[in-house]
Amino acid sequence: MSLFLNEIGNGIFLGAFFGLVALGYSMVYGILRLINFAHGDFYMVAAFVSYTILGAVIVGNSHAQWWTVAWVGLVVMIITGGLAMLANQLIYRPMRRAAILSLMIAAIGLSQVLENGVLVAPQWGATYLVYPVTTPPSGFNLGSNHYTWGQLIIVLISGLLALGVYFLVGRTLLGKAMRAVSEDRIAAVLMGINVDLVIAIVFFIGGALAGAAAVMTGVYYGQINYLMGFTVGLEAFTAAVLGGIGNIGGAVVGGLILGIVQSIGTGIFGAEWAIVVAFGALVLMLWFRPTGLLGERVARRM
């Protein structure tokens, strides 16, 4: 039983990362119906950018002050958001009238470009890079599990960011415009909404969240690699679907559930079967709720 509770704790932590990346997936999906396979790679690029900036800012001091990390984190969020926006402007925007599958292939292409771009970049490459800052191991015990303060802060920041997005999309006029664009782009234009700007903002937010997740990953796990985005991207995509893709709350809930299911699956069947357990759970869930946990339930009109 205690193993079970511990795995839930582990899962929540893991899920916080998934959720944050899943939010970006879900938002972009919601607005363009695009599975943006490059999203995980924005996260990866963010990790490398933050690595370089932090490396330049902190020379030799591996326990830098938290505010250094915080402002670098903010800068990286902006850079990654900008990168995502740029990708939208250069690739997805000219393809606005193309079939979804073509968009998806372009996204896969972009993902290849980002990954292999980092691979051939002289300062980055294929090597596992050791992140310049790491969280200290001190923390607290809960059950028989030990959690570090760093983990707690990461979960809190993730929660706050998710809440912020939730508020933005649910309550503000801009958020309503986003939902309007997501449902009917032409009608949105006819409301006087600058659709391109709204889409760009969505990409920016998604990218920024991935940037935040990347810095936290670096700080907590201590290492980054040019393929780190691929796996996280897959898991985040799964999380987004689990929660009901396109739904903000769903992405977070999906992330948490995926994290918990994977952890419990590891506890019971071993880590090698974690992914099987996770996808098994997904199929089971979709069997009962074909549009995801919090997916839309609007009656289909014939």
Binding site: A177, A180, M191
Partner: protein, 243 residues
């Protein structure tokens, strides 16, 4: 003052002609109808005016100002609102949110928006009782009312509306047309696209008839209603269909 003026406007979709050489105008405060069979190019004209598509040549001006390069959403903010075919309300948003978005970009402050919302709800009391409902749950007629109300939220100078009677039962058609007359009475200029000739001529002061992408007939409603060329315009297209 001419609220809207089109001069020799042509639109092509690739090699396919949408409309060619269309010239028309709408005076301020007037209701003008655009009539024609399916595929005659009525909706194309509206789309060209609202900026959803760009004419290959010709000019469109709005209260004397040409807006060739103005993007669609800027035209809305400038006071030109287009209620498209099929209503296109946001079904996953509430009625309140739909209305709020109607004022997007025109009323910047929260209080301004609230005030306008009050005015519009007074005009369309039906919507007030369903304020928190998802718009997708409204019936077809109610959705049409919402679409007009949403368009009115930005206090437009010109309202263009595409086939408002489509799919409505006779009573709902009455309601919607009464509403259009009310809107016009408040000083809004209306350009109306309608399939149902009799209905349109009843409220419009003037009308243009499109056939295969060109204006073939225009004039005051009263005289057009008696013009035999009006039904010929429709028949011409029909005989072609049989080839």
């Amino acid at each position: 003052m001419k609220a809207l003026e089109l001069n020799d406007v042509s639109v092509f979709y690739g090699a396919v002609r949408g409309v060619e050489g269309v010239s028309l105008y709408v005076d301020e405060g007037e209701i003008v109808a655009l009539l024609g069979a399916n595929g005659a190019g009525k909706s194309t004209v509206l789309k060209a005016v609202s900026g959803l598509i760009h004419p290959r040549h010709g000019t469109i001006s709005f209260f004397g100002e040409p807006f060739a390069k103005l993007s669609a959403h800027r035209r809305v903010i400038g006071g030109l609102v287009h209620v498209p075919e099929g209503r296109r309300i946001f079904t996953t948003l509430t009625i309140g949110e739909n209305l709020e978005l109607g004022a997007y970009g025109t009323q910047r402050s929260r209080t301004e928006r609230a005030q306008r919302l009050g005015e519009v709800l007074a005009l369309f009391p039906l919507l007030e009782q369903h304020f928190e409902r998802l718009a997708g749950t409204l019936s077809g007629g109610e959705q049409q009312v919402l679409a007009i109300a949403r368009a009115m939220m930005s206090n437009p100078r010109v309202l263009m509306i595409d086939e408002p009677s489509l799919g409505l039962d006779p009573q709902k058609v009455d309601i919607v047309y009464d509403m259009l007359e009310e809107v016009a009475a408040l000083g809004t200029t209306v350009l109306l696209v309608e399939q149902n000739v009799a209905l349109a001529l009843e409220i419009a002061s003037r009308a243009y008839v499109l056939q295969q992408g060109s204006v073939v007939l225009s004039g005051r409603s009263a005289s057009l209603a008696q013009d035999s060329r009006l039904s010929d315009a429709y028949l011409g297209k029909a005989t072609h269909d049989h080839g």
